[in-house]
Amino acid sequence: MASGVPTRWRQAGILLQIAFRNLFASRAKTFIVGGIILFGAVLVVVGSSLVDSIDVGMERSIQGSLGGHVQVYDARSRDELALYGGMMGESDLRPVEDFARLKALLLAIPGVRAVVPMGIDQAMVSIGNLFDQALERLRADVRRRLAAPAPPQEDPEYEAHKAHVRRMAQLLEQELLGARAIADMSAAVNRERADAFRDLQRVVLDPFWEELDRDPLPALELLENRIAPLALDGGFTFVRYAGTDLDAFQQAFPGMEIVEGTTVPRGRRGILLARLYAEDWLKLKTARRLDKIKEARDLLHRRIAGDEELQRWVKENQAQTRDIMLQLDPRRATEAVRRLQRALGSRETDLLRLVVELLATDDANFDERHRIFYRELAPLLQLYMVKVGDVITIKAPTKSGYMSSVNVPVYGFVQFKGLERSGLAGVTSLMDMTSFRDLYGYLTADKAEEIRRIQERSGARAIPRDQAEEALFGGGGSVVEAGKARAFDEGRLLAGGGGRRREDLFSRVYSQDEIDRGVALNAAVILEDPGRISQAIRDIEAMSAREGLHLKAVSWSKASGLVGQTRSLLRLVLYTAVLIIFAVALVIINNAMVMATLQRVKEIGTMRAIGAQRRFVLVMVLVETVAVGIAFGAAGAALGAGVVWLVGARGGIPATNDTMYFLFSGPSLVPRLGTVSLGVSLAIVLLVSMVSAFYPALIAMRVTPVEAMQTDE
């Protein structure tokens, strides 16, 4: 029928019209149902935009920092790999003995772009105390003067360093006086203290320093052995580091940013300290507290007045001025007094009082004081205990139990994009692979060479355990004989490089081969196409089985442990909320529609009587609900999109603490509206309204035309 089409359209039109008019006729019901759908749609759009943005951000952060795309480690390890540590500290991984071979095998897999070796662990970093540092400078001056044919008459640097140590001694003396006044100590302790105190009193007087000029070494020894131990600051901190092939690392992980200093030159030993670690553990506590107060005020709009934590920090800043006082040698102390007097408009001449005044901050003066601290005082101070160029000593127990330590030069400070403030994922420093192997007692190229040389010179040879008995007690007695036969020249061994000197180690450039040959705990695999992670995992495991290796390959997400779980948890929370909302929506919509259908039994019966097919009635009820679904769902999605846009336009959601900063991969989360989340929300809303309309539609369909004839209503 040629004219059938327009009629069908008209029929659809009348269906819609009936639907909309019914909806309008029962406004209360429509708005309840619609309101729920609207809320659900807003939740889906906003929620999934947030979670998606977090997800994308974290994916970028983690893939770009340590994770890569796939992580490979020994399947026989006791723990699972956790790149950012787990509940119980670092995971206990069985080392991959021959990384070079692993690397070659992995690179042979199609789609693998790079393979980066890693060994992640924690170690202690010794931080010298301030007295030690001042003394070190003085010692250098003394060495310089002793080496010179005639010590110069004018030596301002030497004088300044002398004055600094003397000043520190004075401060220590005052401190000790205070301690003696309040402490009730046993006789033995008191005697010890008395001795120390006598030494201190000697050191602060002129004759001692005149003696230092004349005969420096005994005086220096006294300072070092008797006085330095009295300065109790310093000590050690724990550092979490990843030993890695630093060049390969930098190429593979775009998230790595050098914030100060430089990268470690190719093939050299060195460490890049995590900026966050430096902030938390190496920065002058006063400065750190000022930073934290400023952040709390600026970012979270907290105020010192009425905030116990901020007030505590202010108090601690005023009470704990020792580090600042010890750092300032007399010359700088004078300069500091001059600067602070000017900046604070004060006539006070005592440095301590000036510093305390500077740090007596309240909401009115905080920004000004913060500025003064950084502009006037900070340039005179060493803000960080470790600076670029320092050599730090890192200690850790090896797997065989004894402590091992390495010295590594600090080339710079590093942070990872998006993880700048994550206490969990942003504190990992980066160290060269060779130092890592040294620290762990793993065999490095150097040590292998050393052992080879010792074996050669001493005539020893490696004998497998099962042949040892035979070799020792069997016929020839070759082992013992050979040992006697050769002269053992220890001196030559040492000179030959067995104990390489520090400078040699630091200037030595290790070849790629040396870096690759040896152990690694895990390896990050970077793919050409990040979308093919599961394929790559299958390929790697197939390779492992083929080569008889025991490798385990996991996605970056799984390898990131707790951090990765946070992502899944967020998504789970969102989905659960959405599920609950829509389950409730389903029940309510279903109920409302059943009620509405029962109220309209007669009307539906009439339609059936005058010739409407069951399908027509079915579609009518479905259209009604789906129309509500689409209308309010679209409105909700639009509203959600508006919210997302508005939040974005206003600079996003600020991260109010480090956890949020970490989740947001930055200082704020700017949610991005995904077409996917829009589409998904509409699809969910449609589905929910269809499903919830299904039962009432069935009821409607079963209405018989006889119902139209009933008059008893």
């Binding site: 029928m1 009629t7 019209q17 008019r21 009439t606 009587a609 005058i610 069951r614 004839m709 008059t711």
Partner: protein
């Protein structure tokens, strides 16, 4: 004229809980085209049941009902619906207009279900009918804005819009005052005369019966009498 409805020995038994209700006990009836037939009887006599069977909204338990030559017991639910749509118009005691549609849309509704007519043709037909029932200027009103009599006029127009050979009316005047009811019966009678449409209506109002061309009396599920009354359009 050929019979448009033929009922032969029709029985209808309803199951009401555990009891069986014998609504019709062997009814036979023949209705010819153009008749204006009243079915009379007290409440519960089986009038409505008989109309339901003739109107194809229900099928007999035994016996046969033929509408326009088709045995309703042999037809599927779908075919029955189609038969209703194309051959039968309905007028209900309680008017049964779709409350959310306008007068015009209510009348147009069966045409839309039928399909096949262009919008202009539909408009013309609906307009003519509304004029004929005296509601030409109420096309845009909602049923709730009309009086009972006006609503029933709309229902008459809706029943006639597809030009069915048969119109069934179940107590069309029961909910109207006698004057308005009389006017509705007059209207139906006019249509019957004008187009030759067969009307079968149930009633227990003697004055309504007086307009009928024939009256079938039912009592206790049985036809007790079939008597010719006034002149019918095609029957005379």
């Amino acid at each position: 004229m050929a019979a448009i409805v033929t009922a032969e020995n029709v029985t209808k038994v309803y199951q009401l809980g555990k009891t069986e209700v014998h609504a019709l006990r062997g009814v036979s009836l023949e209705v010819h085209g153009g008749e204006f037939l009243a079915i009379a009887g007290p409440s519960g006599s089986g009038k409505t049941t008989l109309l339901n069977l003739v109107g194809c909204v229900d099928v007999p338990t035994a016996g046969s009902v033929q509408v326009d030559g088709q045995d309703t017991r042999t037809l599927s639910e779908r075919a029955l619906t189609d038969l209703r749509l194309h051959k039968i118009g309905f007028i209900f005691q309680t008017f049964n207009l779709v409350s959310v549609l306008s007068v015009f849309q209510n009348v147009e509704f069966p045409l839309l279900l039928q399909g096949g007519l262009l919008a202009a043709e539909r408009r013309r037909r609906v307009g003519e009918l509304l004029e004929a029932v005296g509601l030409g200027d109420h096309a845009r009103h909602r049923p709730s804005e009309l009086s009972g009599g006006q609503r029933q006029r709309v229902a008459v127009a809706r029943a006639l819009v597809t030009r069915p050979p048969l119109v069934l009316a179940d107590e069309p005047t029961a909910n109207l005052d006698s004057q308005t009811g009389g006017a509705i019966v007059d209207l139906m009678r006019d249509m019957n005369r004008r187009d030759g449409t067969t009307f079968i209506f149930s009633t227990h109002d003697p004055r309504v019966m007086s307009h009928a061309s024939a009256v079938v009396r039912i009592e206790d599920g049985r036809v007790t009498a079939r008597e010719a009354a006034g002149p019918a359009a095609g029957g005379s």
